[in-house]
Symmetry: C3
Subunit: 135 residues, 3 copies
């Protein structure tokens, strides 16, 4: 019997429903969909890092990373990232930010990725989730 | 060599194409996207449980659970749920139904979750799939 | 320590950002979102196989298969396929093509599947990614 454990980084609010920001069981770690909210402040509603794609993307990366690290994983363990954007016109800029960010964060092969364009709550431009396999 | 097996609960119609409602291989169980269709009746087209988000969400949970159980898994084994809604305005109500439902269904850490807003076939308000790791 | 390796089939361009067309670690192989681009020609921009759903779907299957095979996997190892379409009206035709294609490609249980309707870059009608567990 392998135990499933919830991962809640200190930077995160309690999830707004009965789900976990991340879960780990055996060598599998799943990060829930993260958005560009700043670290939680008690008594305050979640606040996006800013209105721009750059601000939100970097904060979303920080939030995914916080879950990975709280679960004992690194970016290098990530197998798949799902990137949800709201606007096809954001693809090139997101890739630019993506490349800049991962240039220093990765030593091993980059994760696979799927990018699709969906609806997100008002004000949010990007959401990312990640599946990691620990080595 | 680990065998991959298809999971078809007795409540489900044969899939409308060459896919499985669920598959299991080793300790991984993947549930295909489920919607709020009532248990299959031979000779009848699939029918949603009702027009409301509540009816469809509860039926969708029942359909995911039927696949999990037919594969020897429980909600507690689920690592990730992907919730597809058609309307951002449904998020709060879906969370309410989600919390009510899982209050009694879960003993271990809740699954991670990603919710995005997409198009679905006419009349359907929610679709959910799930990745489980058996212990 | 299990190594994560990137998979780049000879038919594929280098990814347009720091992601991999596929990654493999232990017995898990993840194929990134594939679209209906023809095999890469150096110095040319990626070109869809054609404007029709049929052309793009068959080319997308070929591209997913190329990643699977370059990673030592087969269609039979695939547990989950995510099919992203841009138009609900394409569902029936996609299923027809899906069934024709997999009639000869599968010996074991077909993968689970989720189909949702999203935005994709202009001219693209379908995107597919796949999670495989090797046996």
């Amino acid at each position: 019997m392998t135990e499933k454990t919830a991962i809640t980084p200190p930077t995160h609010t309690a999830p707004p429903a009965k789900f976990s920001h991340g879960v780990k069981k055996g060598n599998i770690l799943q990060v829930a969909g993260q958005v560009g909210f700043l670290p939680a402040v008690e008594g305050q509603a979640p606040t996006p890092a800013g209105p721009t794609l750059r601000e939100q993307t970097l904060q979303t990366f920080a939030n995914v990373k916080a879950v990975l690290e709280a679960g004992g994983a690194r970016w290098d363990d990530v197998m798949m990232m799902r990137v949800y954007l709201t606007d096809v016109a954001h693809f090139a800029e997101m890739n630019e930010i993506y490349n800049e960010y991962f240039a220093s964060e990765l030593k091993e092969a980059p994760a696979a990725r799927t990018t699709v364009y969906v609806g997100l709550p008002a004000g949010l431009l990007i959401e990312i989730d990640a599946l990691a396999v620990l080595g």
